[in-house]
């Protein structure tokens, strides 16, 4: 009982700090949504607003009020589930998030699953063959690979697969103005567009999972209970899958939770490279436009989804490792 109250208090405190940072950080950036003076790209058109226009919009969006008042209004509206109105998109923030979030979820989840499975398989393979040539080669290669920033990797993949081989579309999440013959056709189109962003994101996380799996497995296989299992006369395969891998997976699962946070961050860059219409690309343009309500909304969604992931990881962890429940309860 006391334990639960502590958890709730801690959660509320975290949320409050989060909301405060979320509100004030965007507003600490120089400039405001309506003071456009220069172009970001050569040749770009920018409507330079008159002072009267600017005053009109500042009032319209309530940005002319004192900051603390704006903050209270923000909290009140949030309590009622209203994230506010996006300035640059001219529609409710929740609407903007709803249309872009599914694309980010799609590529982040696909990348999480792919990099976890591939990382565990490669890690196991490497640990099985430890100290042999193939293990050393894989380790050196993957570590070197991990050093390539994801946006650079994205550009390289774009150059190879799109520009030269013409295997994938260059931008977007679906073919514009397409007439689909059926659901399969539609799903195929989405997969076709998502392939390169997912590949880039997966590759950026692969090495981490690989190293963790390999190192934990190597540590675990020197433990006493493995020796016991072997002594019982179990086959090497059973020892590895039932005893070693199961224990080695614990840190991998924990890592997966954190990885989603990293992938959400990585999606900002990757989505920009591939013009993929997810939350990351939207966040980038919201920051450029100084669209405070939208920045707040997106950061909140990202923060909440990371919290939810961590919670889920906690639950899965309990199933994998009964000791957690025994000690914690």
């Amino acid at each position: 009982m006391r334990d639960n109250r502590a958890i709730i208090t801690r959660f509320l405190l975290t949320l409050m700090i989060l909301l405060t940072i979320n509100f004030f950080l965007p507003r600490m950036m120089p400039g405001d949504p309506f003071s456009l003076e220069s172009s970001d790209v050569e040749g770009e058109d920018v409507v330079v607003m008159t002072e009267a226009q600017r005053a009109y919009y500042m009032e319209y969006y309530g940005l002319d009020r004192p900051l603390h008042e704006q903050f209270i209004i923000y909290l009140k509206n949030l309590a009622m589930g209203d994230l506010g109105k996006s300035i640059s998109n001219k529609m409710p923030v929740s609407g903007v998030i709803l249309i872009h979030l599914p694309w980010t979820i799609l590529i982040v989840f696909a990348a999480t699953i792919i990099s976890t499975i591939a990382g565990v398989l490669l890690g196991t393979f490497s640990a099985w063959n430890r100290k042999r040539g193939i293990d050393r080669f894989m380790m050196a290669g993957l570590i070197a690979f991990a050093e390539i920033p994801s946006f650079l990797l994205g550009i390289i993949l774009l150059l190879i697969f799109v520009v030269q081989l013409r295997l994938f579309p260059i931008a977007g999440a679906i073919t514009p103005f397409a007439n689909y013959t059926g659901v399969l056709d539609w799903m195929g189109d989405i997969a076709h567009h998502a392939f390169l962003p997912v590949l880039t994101l997966s590759l950026s996380q692969l090495t981490g999972v690989y190293l963790l799996t390999r190192n934990t497995l190597i540590t675990v296989t020197t433990k006493d209970y493995i020796r016991t299992a072997r002594a019982k006369g179990l086959g090497e395969r059973v020892v590895w899958t039932r005893h070693a891998l199961r224990n080695a997976l614990l840190p991998v699962v924990t890592r997966t939770g954190f990885m989603i946070g990293a992938l959400m961050g990585g999606s900002v860059l990757v989505e920009t490279v591939f013009s993929y219409p997810g939350l990351g690309m939207t966040l980038r343009s919201a920051v450029i436009a100084r669209d405070y309500p939208l920045i707040q909304g997106i950061l909140l969604v990202i923060a909440v989804s990371i919290l939810v992931c961590n919670l889920t990881v906690d639950l899965i962890y309990r199933r994998l490792d009964p000791r957690v429940v025994a000690q914690g309860g």
Binding site: G31, G43, E51, A144, E147, Q164, S275
Partner: protein, 542 residues
């Protein structure tokens, strides 16, 4: 170890890419050079710029050009000047305060309702309460609008305004029968919100993916649309999309031109140079910059030609100290030129009493050194470094300070800088911008706040007088003479230095569509509504 691994992998990848590049040969279809003046579908670079009605587009990017495809204005712009559009002709009262527009008869909105003078008056009155993103008439110019009859509407001004007709080109008329019940046009994204009188209807808009599809209005009252379907599709790299035939038109830079040139089906045309970098002096913060000899020394010492060749790889024109670019319809070629001349710069600084007394290479006077911070956006660092090197030769010390562009903008607005560089477009617009940018008094009734000139402390009584006359001069010939004089004065004073005007190139597939044209004051061909209409119909209108 990690570093070496990275290097090896990168090198390997580069080899792979280069290898693939070497193997594939791109084949291009070659067609005759006679271009298509009609097209079924033309695809252009898209991106989300908002729902295309006047209140919901975004201020950044080509949103307003999409609005003009759906909505008409009383006048339009072609390559040479203003042409009648919804208004067939107009009369101006002798005192210049009353404009009576005679509207073309038989025009219908997309939903079939007739277009009348009431819609024009309604648009004006409605926009007093709800400010559109672009094309609104500034508060204070128009006193009121009266409907004379169904096809005649009169604008009564508070005082003569030379730029009134020019500004009316951006005044897009919205339908009274739809908008009169809309209290929040900012959030009005229903299908009827894009009911206009214009040559295109919006068939599809996808905000999420940034795509638009416009279909020609077969019952259009004006020149016939030449392209049946205009599509804006999302792209990540315009040149690659163009090369792959995804889009039919793109802007290109000189370094990528060689590839495009080799294709006989591609036409390449230079854009008018209406986008420029401007170099600001803040004489409020650094009083010695109020001395025009110092500013002139900067103008002589900064090698604008070097900037064009090194930063822009030739794709630019060095700035005129009279501000208006060479491509501007009212550019005055007879003005002080300020070719790169270190000796003249040094002489001017000596004359002003700035000498290097302590031998540190930086000129000083009374304990103050000619040492400044130059604020610019991170993309402009190369410009800053070249300027720094040239100014060092005459004894002026510069520290380049790169900022995020919005921060730089905020500093420019508040006067929080010493020297600053900013890049922006619109240099082809009506020359009245010489007044709004360099006159430091509120002239006429068109502005209620201090101009940029007041922020950085530039003041010239003669220029202010000319500006006050220019804005109320209705005779184009006389007004042009005043603008010519203003350019001379500005070139002598150098309130700011236009470093260079950029010249981009447009490229398009001739066989797809060849009817691209410009407005006289704007650089982008895809932004002109007339670009999508029959040329013969347009010529008949002048």
């Amino acid at each position: 170890m990690k570093k070496i691994g990275l290097l090896a992998v990168s090198l390997a990848l580069i080899c792979i890419v280069a290898g693939i590049a070497g193997c594939t040969t791109t084949t291009q279809s070659t067609t005759g050079s006679s271009g298509a003046d009609q097209a079924e579908v033309v695809r252009l670079a898209g991106g989300d710029y908002g729902y295309p009605q006047p209140f919901t587009i975004y201020p950044r990017g080509p949103g307003s050009s999409k609005v003009t495809m759906i909505f008409d204005s009383l006048l339009e712009k072609d390559e040479e000047g203003l042409i009648p559009w919804l208004a067939e002709r107009w009369d101006v009262s002798p005192d210049g305060k009353e404009y009576t527009f005679h509207l073309r008869e038989g025009i219908k909105w997309h939903d079939g309702a007739p277009f009348t003078a009431n819609d024009v008056k309604f648009t004006h009155d409605y926009e007093l309460k709800h400010v559109p993103i672009s094309g609104g008439i500034e508060a204070g110019i128009i006193d009121h609008v009266q409907v004379v009859d169904d096809h005649t509407v009169r604008f009564v001004l508070n005082q003569p305004a030379a730029t009134f007709l020019y500004k009316m080109c951006g005044f897009k008329v919205i339908p009274e029968h739809i908008y009169s019940t809309v209290s929040d046009p900012e959030g009005f994204i229903a299908p009827e919100a894009v009911t206009g009188t214009g040559p295109y209807r919006l068939a599809e808009y996808n905000k999420e993916h940034g795509s638009y599809q416009f279909i020609a209005n077969t019952e259009y009252w004006g020149p016939k649309p030449t392209i049946r379907v205009v599509e804006f599709i999302p792209i990540s790299d315009a040149l690659i999309s163009f090369e792959q035939g995804e889009i039919d038109f793109t802007g290109i830079t000189p370094d990528t031109m060689d590839w495009v040139k080799s294709n006989p089906d591609v036409r390449i045309v230079q854009q008018p140079a209406f986008w420029a970098y401007e170099f600001y002096f803040n004489a409020v913060r650094c009083p010695e910059l109020g001395d025009k000899r110092i500013r002139q020394a900067f103008a002589y010492a900064i090698d604008r030609d070097e900037l064009v060749s090194k930063v822009q790889r030739g794709a630019g024109i060095r700035g005129n100290m009279g501000i208006l670019p060479d491509d501007h319809i009212w550019y005055n070629p007879d003005q002080p030129a300020y070719a790169f001349d270190l000796a003249k710069a040094k002489a001017l600084l000596n004359e002003a009493g700035w000498k290097d007394t302590d031998g540190d290479g930086i000129r000083d006077k009374g304990g103050k050194k000619l040492s400044y911070t130059l604020s610019l956006a991170s993309g402009e660092v190369r410009i800053g470094e070249l300027i720094k090197a040239r100014l060092k030769d005459v004894g002026i010390d510069i520290q380049v300070r790169a900022l995020e562009s919005r921060s730089r903008d905020a500093n420019l607005k508040s006067g929080d800088y010493e020297l600053l560089i900013s890049g922006f477009g619109g240099w082809g617009q009506d020359a009245d911008y010489l007044r709004t940018r360099y006159s430091d008094v509120v002239t006429g009734t068109t502005s209620s706040v201090a101009s940029a000139a007041a922020v950085y402390g530039y003041h010239n009584e003669v220029l202010n007088d000319l500006a006050a006359r220019e804005v109320v001069e209705l005779d184009d010939g006389k007004r042009k003479a005043i603008v010519f004089e203003m350019q001379k004065i500005i070139a002598e004073d150098i309130p700011t230095i236009p470093l260079y005007y950029t010249t981009s190139y447009d490229a398009w597939y001739i066989s797809k569509y060849d009817g691209w044209m410009n407005m006289f004051d704007h650089h982008a061909r895809t932004h002109s509504k007339l670009t999508y209409l029959e040329r013969t119909g347009i010529a008949a209108r002048r």
